[in-house]
Amino acid sequence: MSALRKGPSLSLKTREAVTGWLFVSPILTGFLIFFIGPLIAVFYYSTTEWNLLSQQSRFVGMANYVDALSRNETFWDVLINSLVFAAGLVPLNMALALGLALALSKSRPGAVFFRTVFFAPVITSAVAWAIIWTFLLQHESGAVNQGLSLFGIDGPNWLHEPDWAMVSVIVTRVLKTVGLNMILYIAALQSIPRDYAEAARLEGASGWEIFRRVTWPLLAPTTLVIMVITVVGSLKVFDHIYLMTGGGPQNGTMVLAFYIYEQGFKFFNTGYAAALAVVLFGLILMLTIAQMVLKASRK
């Protein structure tokens, strides 16, 4: 470095450019090899079919996509399941997170305790959380149904009936992740100046009116970020499905990320799995672009 500084041939500007490239080169190199390269490769793989015996791939053009869209009914089930999962999880997660944040954003006694409680599953690995809930949701001997029976309710076989299995994975996933959204909302609420609400209160606004006309609009940027994070998080859900239902019963909880894994690494349908990955890529790209457009339109 000191040699560079003394060298008369290098201008300040060039030196800064060299340093800049040196500083970003480690992450850039790794990123190109382990992210951009594979991202391009997944498009290529999606146009091939693998022969497991000869370990060779054959170009098949759009056949994997045609197969997914027209011949393979599972694909549509999986896509619908993924959307149902997101449609169930996102509103539930965000409403609960906002409610908890409103209740816990002020420093009332007990607020820190409850924040700790609701955030604890975020720290816990999803695998551990899914394992515990698998036990709690057993049909006859599980704690949930035993608890329900105290009220005379005969609980369903949660993880073995298609509709209830979906409800179970959605709810347990919400419990696992809602703490993070709660914290993001609390951080946003605490950055809102108090004067706004007080001014509104002096003018006679009720608590609900203050929330609707002052707090909620000010939370809009945070809500947008949380929504995108949560939708993307719900589209990539894998460990919960793997451990709690394995995609079953009758593909009732088979979602895109899990289906990619199963097709790619269990059935070795590499080309088809790559096509599914491209579909997932497209979904998330659309969400990201939608977020950028929404963000820009606000300014």
């Binding site: 470095m1 030196r15 800064e16 450019a17 800049g20 490239w21 500083f23 970003v24 480690p26 992450i27 790794g30 990123f31 382990f34 992210f35 951009i36 594979p38 991202l39 997944v42 700790t116 409680v117 609701f118 955030f119 604890a120 720290i123 816990t124 690995s125 695998v127 551990a128 394992i131 515990i132 809930w133 036990f135 709690l136 599980g142 704690a143 419990l175 914290i183 951080a187 946003a188 950055s191 945070t222 970020v225 949380i226 995108v228 994070i229 993307v232 990539k236 894998f238 460990d239 793997y242 451990l243 990619i260 894994y261 790619g264 690494f265 790559a274 990955a277 997932l280 998330i284 990201t288």
Partner: protein
């Protein structure tokens, strides 16, 4: 009813409501703990949280059933390596993107940001073949390289950049006047000033790596090389006989130390997550 009593009643309702809401968050941990101490037959036989007979032996059996200590160590050292490497690489890149002017930096930033949201499932298949080609299958290298250079590493870079942008640059200029090189300024001035950001990125990266599941599942076969999440899932299907009591004991061993650390350092942990969201 005057305003005071009304407020009091509202507050009691809040607390009762919160306690009820807390049940599905707290009960699983209590149940895990109680299940970990129950005998194989009692896990389901008795619904009571208090075990009929306490089986401390579950915890020793966990280590006999599979190389659990080894697997624990694997998770720990991988998370530490990933965290240190991420802190170094992402803070350097973040510093350059925030402070240095060089052609292409805006483009690099755009490319990196576009990857923030991409889940590992999208690239896992090509990465599988890449690791095979590189001879890294059934090693820990994929579990280190992929978080480091995937969306997690990108997010770390982005967080560091945002922090450096907000840092006043006067101190750095003073350092430059005193003859420090750019690297010297980064290492001796900017890094020490960015401890809050470094600890936030460090905490998030550590937890992310510690809880990683898909990558170990895909890249590691050897039971000696398993990480904790894989090990936990491995107590179920031996000969179709799920060993519930052992699985819960292992889960407790994996979860409780993290919970203790969380409770001790919760302010910092929670703040680091809050920061990641606000800046992301």
């Amino acid at each position: 009813m005057n305003y005071r009593t009304q407020q009091k009643i509202t507050r009691i309702c809040w607390i009762v409501g919160l306690c009820a809401l807390a049940v599905p968050f707290v009960f699983p941990f209590l149940w895990m703990l109680s299940g970990a101490l129950k005998g194989q037959a009692d896990v389901f036989a008795s619904s009571s949280l208090i075990p009929v007979k306490v089986h401390w032996s579950n915890f020793t059996e966990v280590f006999a059933y599979q190389p659990f200590a080894r697997q624990y160590f694997n998770s720990l050292y991988i998370a530490i390596v990933v965290t240190i490497a991420t802190l170094l690489i992402s803070s350097m890149a973040g510093y350059a993107l925030a402070r240095l002017r060089f052609g292409g930096s805006a483009f690099i930033l755009l490319v990196l940001i576009s990857a923030l949201m991409m889940p590992e499932e999208v690239t896992i298949i090509p990465n599988f073949f890449l690791m095979k080609e590189l001879g890294l299958m059934n090693t820990h290298m994929p579990l280190i390289l992929l978080p480091l250079f995937g969306s997690q590493g990108v997010m770390a870079t982005f967080l560091m950049r945002q922090y450096f942008l907000a840092l006043p640059s006067e101190l750095e200029e003073a350092g430059r006047m005193d003859g420090l090189s750019r690297f010297g300024v980064y290492f001796k001035i900017a890094l020490p000033l960015s401890k809050p950001a470094l600890s936030a990125v460090g905490i998030i990266t550590f937890l992310f790596s510690w809880n990683l599941f898909l990558e170990p599942l895909v890249f590691v076969n050897d039971i000696e090389l398993f990480t904790l999440p894989l090990a936990l899932a491995n107590f179920t299907d031996t000969y179709g006989l799920p060993l519930w009591h052992l699985q819960l004991a292992a889960t407790a061993l994996a979860v409780i130390p993290m919970l203790i650390v969380y409770i001790l350092a919760q302010r910092q942990i929670v703040e680091s997550f809050a920061m990641s969201g606000v800046k992301g």
